[in-house]
Symmetry: C2
Subunit: 336 residues, 2 copies
Amino acid sequence: MADLARPYLLFIGDVQDDLAAKTAAGIVDWRRDWCLGQLRLPGCKADLGLPDLDIAAAAAQGARTMIVGVANAGGVMPDHWVATIVAALDAGMDVASGLHTRLGAIPAIADAAARSGRTLTDVRHPMQSFATGKGTRRAGKRVLTVGTDCSVGKKYTALAIERELRLRGHDADFRATGQTGIFISGRGVAVDAVVADFIAGAAEWLSPAAEPDHWDVVEGQGSLFHPSFAGVSLGLLHGSQPDAIVLCHEPTRAAMRGVPAPLPDLQACIELNLACGRLTNPAVVCVGLSVNTSKLMRAAARDYLARLGERMGMPAVDPIAYGVGPLVDNLLKLVP
Amino acid sequence: MADLARPYLLFIGDVQDDLAAKTAAGIVDWRRDWCLGQLRLPGCKADLGLPDLDIAAAAAQGARTMIVGVANAGGVMPDHWVATIVAALDAGMDVASGLHTRLGAIPAIADAAARSGRTLTDVRHPMQSFATGKGTRRAGKRVLTVGTDCSVGKKYTALAIERELRLRGHDADFRATGQTGIFISGRGVAVDAVVADFIAGAAEWLSPAAEPDHWDVVEGQGSLFHPSFAGVSLGLLHGSQPDAIVLCHEPTRAAMRGVPAPLPDLQACIELNLACGRLTNPAVVCVGLSVNTSKLMRAAARDYLARLGERMGMPAVDPIAYGVGPLVDNLLKLVP
């Protein structure tokens, strides 16, 4: 896919809570300066904290892409949202969606895109075909966030590492593997939607050969210990051939997301990721732990991180609460 | 997909060598009694050893499905094969193909299927959608063939185990995960063509809950050590939740198929498969090794198998040359 044109107008329809707008909220968290405003329909109960703009105002301010930034049940486009999308196209904006429903499958939207010459992008659906993975080493450096489970902070950790590396003057690019990440970086591939034979190949495409000092910070997906999605995680690990991994974890979770299985032991999770990662990068190391402590009290969180870091012998950070500084210190020390 | 209707007429076009007809040859190897004959075009250089039948003769003998049983470069349908496929449909046969080109994408074939009311099946393309994997334990017994590499005999080993189990009076079903296997069993799913998020779910669909004494013998794909396809292998391992695995190997291969990577150590390969397999079946065991010794001299093959079995502490067999008896003995002993 071509990069999504910026700035964005974030459309969240009339969703009934902030959770349904979390895709858009993620864009605001990480790319506030790309966002001109939000467009909400009557009855919307979410608020991104951006100026409310209608289509005409957004177009007048130069919005280039309207992002359908919601994650509603089933991923289906409500009928009463279509007119707004058509209006955005007719006003000269591209439209990009994270819903399962393809924009172009809705005739009024397809017609509007054709007559306006604008681009429709469905970020859940890969827009290109891939070769199978080759497994050969590529120039450049790569770090991959892996997890004990789904939804434990792999995307936010990768984005925080990208930001910290850039602050320190390193050339670094976040590489998005899911819908929200694609909106945040303007490009990427939803690896869970790739045909199974091409998972590793898609990951190779996503983090191509680069300058020796360039860092790709690859957003992980799922977990090698998740019985639904481990195949995606393994293909992504092999294809991204990381020099370093960071293990992401949520310490209050009682069971794997969506299935009645226990969370893996952290050491076992690191060891399996390293054992599998060595297939395409024999030098892969684990440089730290990234923990979402948002459900712990502040003192308990600090204590947990300190004990965990000591026990595992590597930095343990909460990327949102305390930043990833110690983790990036260790990354740069172990992968010089 | 519904089961493919039998008997079959095997169409191999005008392929230029036996290798290009290996899909059809696999059907003949394992389901000779399902095959009425072969249909070859002028200039065909392969021979399945079946009676040559034209469309009219095959229809008169009751052929229900014409199988396009070739694996040519690129998986594309040659234009001059289309008339034969149209004639088969008009004569009342269904048509099933293992080519990448979808039968229905060729207008003359789509038209013929519509007017005759016959079914087109593209076994490389999943015909149904799947749920994501759940990882919950299902009743029934399962054995999965895993490999050090692609194309080391996982399908033939699974078929040989199915046959041996049935000969001993056990209720057993081969579960096909690739195109040739689907023709051989009349059903199945090409797991490498499933969208990545649904690999494990497809494997769960393929080997559903069954009677406690029923054996599903699941055809493995790829290898956890193949940098292109390991994600498929892992999803299949998790979804099929085997009670037992059999490791398949080709001892003369110098590098992994299609990529410049060494073959894994056999013990490491068993250990990684068991470690990952325990996620959905904590009791999983390895019951033996299945080796394709066709490139070794007979004495060397026997010697290799004897030494390997001793070193690994489990039966090592060549399923084609010597059968899988000792392996099935061990399977029934370890998974009673």
